[in-house]
Symmetry: C2
Subunit: 438 residues, 2 copies
């Protein structure tokens, strides 16, 4: 059998990593597939910038049609990123009967359904291990060896930028803005960090995981998404005082056919398996009805780990082609006609413990008013800390309350009530607490 | 296409788990494969004991030939365990052109080469995700999505019995024998626990991992294997005093084409990712040249997790068959003709840090003699603790020395020398230390 011919669209940092890996480990790959995997064409608008990897003459092109119209190319890697023209490219490649490998979580989160349907019609595969957790082979595991399980939950740390910033804030007692700047200087955060720090990238990944784990479509707008930009050094300090660490978690659950889907800063106990996932590392944990809890961790981003996942997908597809298989697996593991649309629980119905940080005037009756309001809304208190003023000239004192489990709707109603009182100096901060994520 | 028909040999605890999973999650499995996976025959010498799962009439048989000679059966699950008759059954099934799924690490560790060669000749697959780490899908990941990497190391906690005993010893300051008894009472340890506590089971798993990761045959006898039965409460206490925890690790490395393969109690720093893998949990960590470090953890044994891995293998094979593929992957991920026989580094050449625990008479000159002997053999000391006698009537005091990195051969030579001295009361204990396993 001949070598497997690949087309790559998008020759940026990750694309260069794929070129490097296919070249440096060509022998390893050939030794596992039996034929070579050859990048026949690379399309990018900019084909003059030196990407730091050698490319054979005639490979680079500015025209994606050179890839679409090449009958020898059986797999197209999409590394353009974003929604358009990535979506058009992917649909065009599918239309031409080519398998797709992509790292584009934003595209899959918003347009996955359309792309998967097109791939189903044409009988091609769509693989996207690199879309979640960089090189960590978690999606392949969920679709593959864990496929016999009913998955009940999936959660984790899926954005290296946020985890790096939170780790440094924890280690140094520093504020968000200062540590964001450090992350930017080190190249761990983009010049415009919004997608990462506001949780959007994490929510994209959660959308992909929820579809894979629960076999459901999910409207991206239904994922509650809150980032870390409002987390302060004070939040981190109080969390530690209660025995917790703050992490940006993506949390997906499926209980009685109802989906929970949320991304937000979360306090987790210091002895939680996720508490020690630090820096740019990612970790994804899931529970299946037979396998129980399983956790995967590793480098969640970067040129080399991402290339590892992309070329891993290529190897899988190449093995199937070489074995004479047609389409071996639908994009989500489930057959396409099995994908349903499960309802998503409104955030107000979500039940969690909360850390509430009130900024209140230090005068009689304040605590009674706050706790009274919580009680009225059925929220009971697990513990409380009231500390002295942060500085002598501060008007307000922080009152920190940890609640028992409560409905989010009740918590928001109670806080809306207390925040209207004249003894409350600023909007009350709250952070959700997960003691027993499984 | 018709349902995939399976034969199961060995109807014990794990076999019953497979029956249960195939029955309870039949819809999930059908929804991912497109056809059903049906257990057509189950062979066991004992078909009268109630296994707690319902089995259709006509499925049970005492004759394995009913499976071998059934042309409808395309996959055989071997759950007999041990070497024989498991090996004969597997070879016979291969000879009959059937794919193999097995959880039998002992068989693969000692007879894998022969089995893989037979499977190669007949063009069938051999899958064995359940052989290492129970339900943790680590082997599929190594063979699959991580396949583009040169793996440089693989290590981890792979025996739940040992990890449970060591965890309890650490938590309670108890001795090995007492905690073994607890493990036996809870069913975590066999009545004859030798295979587990002496590290043999872990070494079987390491043999499998080394072949998968480095594409090499390994003679099982070349794996240095030391269990936990000699670890005492005192060892655990001193380890903690130096900031370490003792775990039974399997360690495999490939450096410049030479294999390191060893199983032994190992002191790892408290902040190591493996230090918090407690109780019956397993964790496997590996490093690839592109993916970097990746870690997998979960339940390493038990009926349900093991069934998850076995049925996961069945789903993979079924998908390939349904897609019209012949043999999609060789057993080790590498094509069979790519498997080499790399040399194994002798244990005496292995370099590690060591914790040495001398039991010496409390008299002048002892410390000078010990440190002198270490110095003569080129072993330098990182830190030292000498404590008071354990009890007033004890003749000996423990002298505990942590070395810098040293060759094992040099350490053994030095200890042979000091242990001959009349001030040494019992054979000196040593535990290897891994500060930076990657």
């Amino acid at each position: 059998m001949n070598d497997i011919q690949i087309g790559l669209i998008g020759f940026g940092n990750i694309g260069a990593g794929v070129v490097k890996l296919l070249r440096e480990n060509a022998d390893v790959i050939r030794g596992k597939v039996g034929v070579g995997i050859v990048l026949k064409r690379i399309a990018d608008l900019d084909i003059t910038t030196d990407r730091g990897v050698p490319v054979d003459a005639g490979v680079l092109t500015t025209s994606v049609d050179d890839i679409f119209n090449d009958p020898d190319i059986s797999v197209v890697i999409e590394l353009v990123g974003g929604y358009e023209p990535a979506k058009s490219f992917v649909l065009k490649a599918i239309e031409k009967g080519k398998h797709i490998v992509t790292a584009n979580k934003a595209l899959l989160a918003l347009h996955g359904t359309e792309i998967y349907a097109a791939a189903d019609r044409k009988g091609v595969e769509v693989q996207f291990e690199a879309a979640v957790g960089g090189g960590i082979p978690v999606l392949t595991a969920i679709k593959g060896n864990l496929a016999a399980n009913n998955v009940t939950s999936v959660f984790g740390i899926m954005n290296g930028t946020c985890n790096y910033i939170l780790t440094r804030m924890t280690q140094e007692g520093a504020d968000f803005t200062a540590m964001l700047q450090v992350a930017q200087q080190l190249g761990y955060a983009e010049p415009d960090p919004t997608f990462d720090v506001e949780g959007v990238d994490t929510a994209h990944k959660l959308a992909v995981l929820i579809s894979l784990c629960f076999g459901t479509r999910i409207d991206f707008k239904d994922i509650y998404t809150e980032g870390i930009s409002r987390i302060s050094a004070l939040d981190v300090k109080f969390a530690a005082q209660f025995g917790y660490r703050i992490k940006l978690l993506a949390i997906g659950k499926c209980v009685d056919g109802v989906i929970e889907a949320r991304v937000h800063p979360t306090m987790i106990p210091l002895d939680s398996p996720l508490a020690d996932i630090n820096g740019v590392f990612n970790a994804i944990r899931l529970s299946g009805d037979f396998v129980g809890p399983v956790m995967f961790s590793g480098r969640g981003a970067g040129q080399n780990p991402t290339a590892s996942a992309i070329v891993g997908d290529l190897i899988g597809l190449s093995r199937s082609m070489k074995a004479g298989a047609g389409r071996r697996m639908a994009p989500l593991g489930f057959l396409d006609d099995q994908i349903t649309t499960l309802p998503v629980k409104p955030m107000s119905e979500m039940v969690s413990k909360y850390l509430l940080r009130f900024s209140a005037l230090d005068k009689p009756g304040v605590l009674a008013a706050i706790t009274g309001s919580l009680g009225t809304h059925g929220i009971s208190i697990e513990s409380m800390v009231q500390t002295a003023r942060e500085s002598a000239d501060a008007a307000a004192v922080p009152i920190v309350i940890m609640t028992h489990e409560a409905r989010e709707g009740a918590v928001l109603a109670a806080l809306a009530e207390t925040d209207r009182c004249d003894f409350i100096c600023e909007a009350t901060r709250f952070i959700r607490i997960e003691d027993n994520l499984e």
